[in-house]
């Protein structure tokens, strides 16, 4: 699969986040397990391509998410996704890490992402809850969903993004 098809897949994932997932996640957990599938793909970009590509992907798809779900303000997801994608790429990029490391990165990345959005909403006085509450209410439960999704798509996404992995596979 060509790498540019990844963009179509990410747009589809963005739509699935808003349409299919609310039906799958049971009622009481609706606000606690938040799907961030696009962000998981951005993390893959950061680890297996370059951090600049992850930054651009994060900014663009974050902005798309912000615009189509415009409630309070635009730019929260864009900023958080871009920043987290870049930071993860800076620390873990170009190391050709395996599946175990990637899962650890997904946990770390989604914690970082949710904490950044929490910070922004608190800074702009939209949120008044404590960080402890946020951690147990939605940050930790969401990590599990992101982890499950990352496990599910690890092989196809890495095969698409990581050119070295693809060559190795063909040999």
């Amino acid at each position: 699969m060509k790498r540019r098809w990844m963009i179509v897949v990410m747009i589809l994932l963005l739509m699935i986040e808003g349409t299919v997932m609310p039906w799958i996640i049971p009622g009481d957990w609706k606000l606690r397990i938040i799907p961030h599938f696009v962000f998981v793909i951005v993390l893959f970009y950061g680890v297996y391509t370059s951090r600049y590509l992850a930054l651009v992907m994060g900014l663009v798809f974050g902005l798309l998410h912000d615009v189509i779900h415009y409630g309070n303000m635009i730019g929260v997801y864009s900023f958080s996704m871009g920043l987290c994608g870049y930071l993860i790429g800076k620390v873990f990029g170009d190391k050709r890490l395996g599946i175990g490391w990637m899962m650890l990165i997904v946990v770390l990345g989604s914690w970082l992402f949710d904490s950044t959005t929490y910070l922004i909403y608190t800074m702009f006085r939209v949120n008044h809850m404590s960080y402890d509450w946020a951690l147990f209410y939605h940050i930790i439960p969401s990590v599990f969903l992101q982890l499950a999704f990352a496990l599910l798509v690890y092989v196809p996404v890495r095969r698409t993004l990581d050119i070295g992995f693809r060559k190795h596979d063909e040999d």
């Binding site: 808003g18 609310p22 615009v67 303000m73 939209v126």
Partner: protein, 275 residues
């Protein structure tokens, strides 16, 4: 480093600008909203249909019970309907006698426009849903949105074919974008008054404030919007009173309200448009 700093400044100004009150969306935003709304509409419905199939099977046991309750409700409705017709006719006669203007007569008449949910944003700080009617159907910013059970939220942004609903979970007295809802209780419409100002995510309840100390509001009362101030339409169910307390300064009382809606499982919603 310099670029990072520049990016930060850019983003903080973007956040600040979009947080303030905006009258209209720019055309790229509208275009994106409508395109995604159209595409998501194609996914949301089939997904809901499949999910609903399983739900229906598990709900089969409750049907008899529900049928019983509905029969009782219908009998109540028929009795009230006869009574209502008398009162409505009387009201019309009196309005004519007192020379009400056309505008005054239309004051509390609303059109409930049905809308389908297109997508849901599950974010505890920014819980919004997108619906498939917009500017072309007469939807405007800040109009109330209800479900069958009660008030759900407020229209936050409007595009030509879709609009975004900010749910009442975002209700907050410290946020300049959220309006408090003037409310009263069923059966005590002229005696009770309070403002629904904020939502407590931890408890899942609203806080109703500025209630007079001699107010007859009691635990178990059904709270409806009062239409005073005209920001919200009159007579939409908001919730039931769980408990009442003395307020922060001891001058007024506050009440904890349990929402009438669950904030999950969205299918059809109604936008309340003044006529």
């Amino acid at each position: 480093m310099f670029i990072l700093l520049l990016g930060m400044i850019l983003f903080i100004s973007l956040l600040g600008f979009t947080l303030s009150k905006r009258e209209n969306l720019s055309w790229p935003e509208k275009m994106l909203n409508d395109t995604f709304g159209f595409a998501q509409n194609m996914i949301y419905k089939p997904a809901g249909f499949i999910a609903g199939l399983f739900e229906d099977i598990s709900n089969l046991n409750h049907i008899y019970e529900e049928n019983e309750q509905l029969k009782i409700a219908v009998s109540h409705y028929i009795r009230d309907k006869a009574n209502y017709n008398f009162i409505a006719a009387e009201n019309e006669r009196l309005q004519k006698a007192l020379n009400f203007t056309e505008q005054q007569k239309k004051m509390y008449k609303y059109d409930y426009k049905i809308a389908q949910v297109v997508s849901v944003n599950q974010d505890p700080y920014n819980y919004t849903i997108t619906i498939n009617i917009g500017e072309k159907n007469g939807v405007k910013k800040n109009q109330a949105v209800t479900s069958v059970d009660g008030m759900v939220g407020v229209i936050s942004q409007v595009s030509p074919l879709t609009s975004t609903v900010q749910l009442l979970t975002g209700l907050d007295e410290r946020n300049p974008n959220s309006n408090a809802i003037a409310a009263t209780a069923i059966g005590k419409e002229n005696k009770s008054f309070g403002l629904i100002e904020s939502y407590n995510a931890q408890e899942g309840t609203y806080l109703m404030t500025k209630i007079d100390e001699n107010d007859p509001l009691a635990v178990g009362d059904t709270i409806i919007s009062s239409g005073i101030g005209e920001a919200f339409p009159r007579g939409i169910v908001i919730g039931t009173v769980l408990s009442t307390q003395v307020g922060d300064f001891g001058l007024t009382h506050t009440a904890t309200i349990k929402p009438a809606v669950n904030f999950d499982n969205w299918k059809e919603l109604f936008v309340v448009v003044p006529m």
